[in-house]
Structures are given as structure tokens and as C-alpha cells.
Symmetry: C2
């Protein structure tokens, strides 16, 4: 079998997220599998590195899929074929043939996501699909202080909509956040998250909590208390998906085998 790795860009607005659903094909995985199935005349399964939620965007999502050896198209021909038939809010920006053992999700060592906040009382036409608007003035320094409590390896149960399973064989809610950088240019605030993996809704609940710190509703140190509590009810709101973008998937050298 041939193994093809692709880099994908998409505007998540119109889609029900990455993961294929049984009843509908309005997912990114579903769209891609339908297209590749048509190209090859056989069912193709596409594995994505990050299962982005409905409405979440991607600048460089990584995916891979196996093709029968009889499929002779070169990677650049596959890229051209896919871009010809994909809608204009999805694009394949790179395609390469990789070793058969490469798996976009299992080999990923980390991910970078950006969450964008427009801190303004007036709308911004060009950010309306990509940023969450907060009209109350935000104290960016307080947000940075609060974010520092979340860096490192922790049980992030307080910051996920996914309940911790009592089944000990299920994966834990322990994750490592390497960094949360906050950049502010005028009214445009960008939160850059780099971690080894993120739980369901984790970045959006963390962002909602950091916004509360920025508004002065909670103190930065309270974020540490919320983290320790492990209780979702203690954390802030789930902010909208449209502000979130998967920016990069990181692989170790071995993962980047081509």
C-alpha cells in the first residue's frame, strides 16, 4: 500500500467538524473520503492529526491515507485532483508519499492552536469568521499571569466537556501544555497554545476562563485553584469555535519520514 500525507487548510464555518459521522457527509473527513473514493474507485480512509470540532478552522491540518499500489498518481497529481474538486473553503496545500508506518495522529508529538479574540465594541468585517468578539476591555497582563498556571503537565478535567471515565483502561485527562503565548496588536488578541495534545473543548474552556481573568471576574491565581479542583463547573465559559484555528501539527524527526 502507498501512504500519502497531505497538509490541509480549511475554513470550518460550513462544516460539522473533522470526524466523519454516520448520517451525514458534511464533515471534513467525510468530504475527503468521498472525493478520494471517487478518485480511486475504492473506499479510502483518511486519518487526521486533529479532530477539529464543528466551526474550527485549520491552517495546516495533517492527514494521511493509504492507496492501493495500482493507483499510480504522483502526490502532486493527487494534490491537483483534490483541489480541482474540493470546495473553495478546503484546500490541499501539500502532498507527499511517506513510509507506510506513518500515522498522522498517532505519530503527532504536539499541536499548535491559535485562539483569536477581537477586544472591541465595534465589529471587524474581516475577522468576523475568525475571531470571538469581547466588548469589555481585557487586562492582557492578568490573562498572561493566569495562563502561566496552566503550563506544564496537569490533569485538565476542569477544562474539558468530556467527563473523566471511571474505566481505568480509558485514557486520562492528563496533558502537557508547553506554552500559552498571548500577543496583542491593537484590539486583536491572539492566544497561541502549544501542547502535546488537547482534550475535547479544552482550548475553548481555557480561553473562556482566561477571558474572565482578563475581565477581573476572577484572579489569575484562581485559575490554579480551578485546575486543582478538576471540576468543569469551576472553569469559565466555552467560547465559540470560530475563534479557533489548528495552526501546526508537530512530529519528531522520525514522524516526518518522507
Amino acid at each position: 500500500m502507498r501512504n500519502i500525507k497531505i497538509t490541509l487548510q480549511y475554513e470550518g464555518t460550513r462544516y460539522q467538524g473533522w470526524q466523519r459521522q454516520d448520517s451525514t457527509d458534511n464533515t471534513l473527513q467525510g468530504k475527503l473520503e468521498a472525493l478520494l473514493g471517487k478518485m480511486c474507485g475504492t473506499r479510502i480512509e483518511v486519518q487526521g492529526a486533529g479532530r477539529t470540532d464543528a466551526g474550527v478552522h485549520a491552517l495546516a491540518q495533517i492527514a494521511n491515507f493509504k492507496l492501493p499500489d495500482s493507483e499510480e498518481r504522483k502526490p502532486e497529481e493527487i494534490l491537483a485532483y483534490m483541489n480541482q474538486y474540493l470546495p473553495d473553503d478546503i484546500a490541499v496545500i501539500d502532498a507527499t508519499e511517506v513510509a507506510e508506518r506513518f500515522h498522522s495522529r498517532l505519530n503527532a508529538k504536539g499541536k499548535t492552536y491559535h485562539y483569536r479574540i477581537l477586544n472591541s465594541s465595534v465589529p471587524h468585517v474581516f475577522l468576523r469568521r475568525y475571531a470571538f468578539t469581547v466588548t469589555t476591555g481585557l487586562d492582557v497582563e492578568a490573562m498572561r499571569e493566569a495562563a502561566a498556571f496552566l503550563c506544564g503537565t496537569h490533569d485538565f478535567s476542569a477544562f474539558t466537556s468530556h467527563r473523566k471515565s471511571k474505566n481505568p483502561n480509558k485514557k486520562s485527562n492528563v496533558r502537557t501544555i508547553y506554552s500559552i503565548d498571548l500577543e496583542k496588536i491593537d484590539n486583536d488578541i491572539l492566544l497561541k497554545f502549544h501542547g502535546n495534545g488537547f482534550l475535547y473543548h479544552m482550548i475553548r474552556i481555557i480561553t473562556g476562563t482566561l477571558i474572565e481573568a482578563g475581565m477581573g471576574k476572577i484572579k489569575p491565581a484562581d485559575v490554579g485553584t480551578i485546575l486543582a479542583s478538576g471540576q468543569r463547573e469551576e472553569a469559565g465559559m466555552l467560547v465559540p469555535a470560530k475563534g479557533l484555528t489548528l495552526v501546526e501539527v508537530h512530529y519528531s524527526e522520525e514522524g516526518r519520514i518522507t
Copy 2:
């Protein structure tokens, strides 16, 4: 009469340009006049600084309109009213009350427009509405050299779709370009035009001509010859509207009276 100056942002994609047409209201001026007419219960005429074409965007278009003294809403209330009813691809980002003699177009001393080129063989999802894609590699230095021939005060008849009138009372095609700056970040090329005014299609025909220089189809110095010829046929193609954005309208100190 009260005189209100507003700063507008819009994504031009869905509109037939700035200027009101008789038969349709799908223009920016038409939309704004209809909304203000509803607000005031009387016909309001909106003057825009730049008559952007169909599909052209604006980051900060300036417009002004006169209100009867009986209209007591403060500028910030007018801004809030307008943003409440405008579609999400149009926004009022500032509103102030100015001296009665201020006219957004007649007082404008210059304008800055950006034209964005995506120089890539693969699509870019997030620039698809705001950039024109050129798949052939462009020599940016040749484009810069070519652009230099256009800076200064010239008759730009070769670079407009508007025929020069034989009527001596009509305005000439002489304009001054203060600067054309070309910025390139990866595949993203931004042409920044600053001039005292631009003729119909002028920036888009200049850009089409600079692209030909970047492709090596013409030499940079040929741009000077084209300019001197005054013949539209000699210049390059009219590039699509979607790459063009009105970024700033410049006023002298007096023009910025508040």
C-alpha cells in the same frame, strides 16, 4: 444641519460597488442611504471618499452625511444603530460629528489602496476572497523596478478603462502616485499604492502590467513606454477586483476637522 463623518469597513464580494445605481440598491451607498433614511424618516445622501468598484473591499472608507438638527442621536448612537442593522460584511468602525463644510471626497488629499497577489500554485483558503492568485513565479525586483516608472505626476490614460474626454472642461487623466511599495512575505505579495487619486480601474491595470513585468513578459522600462503612449491597449490586463482594498483616506489637517 449636522454633518456626520463615518469610517466604514466592508467586504465588497457581495456588492455592486460603492456608487448608488438607479435600478438597484445592492450598492454600499444605496444600503447606507436606505438605512439612514429609515433612522431619520427622511432621505439622507451619503458621500463616500472613494467610489470603490464592485468586489473591491475597504478597511477604512470615509463617508459623511448631513442630518437634520432635529435628529438628536449622538455619533456613538448612530454607530450602534447602523451596526445593529447592517449585514455582517459592512461595519461602521467610527462616527464623529464634523464641521458642516467637511466633504469626505472633495477634502480628501490622497488614498492608500492595497492590491494582494497570492503567488502560488496551491490555493489559500483564507485569502481566497482577498487575493488574486498568480501561479507563475513572479520576479519581485522586476516588479519594483517597473513600479518606479509610475511614481510621480503623469497622465495615466494608458492605465484606465475610462477614455479621456475631448471636452476640455472634463477632468484630466493626470494623477500623482506618491509611492508604490511592494512587500513579499512567502507567497503573499502586497502592492501598496499611495496617490492623490486614482482613475477608473487604474490600480488594477497597473497591477496587471506589473505582473507582466514580474513574469518577464515585458521589461521594467517598458512600463515607462506604455505610460508615455497613453494607449490602454499597450498596458497589461485588468486584474480581479477581489485583490483590491481601500486602506486609508488621507486628509490635510483642515480636512480632519472634528
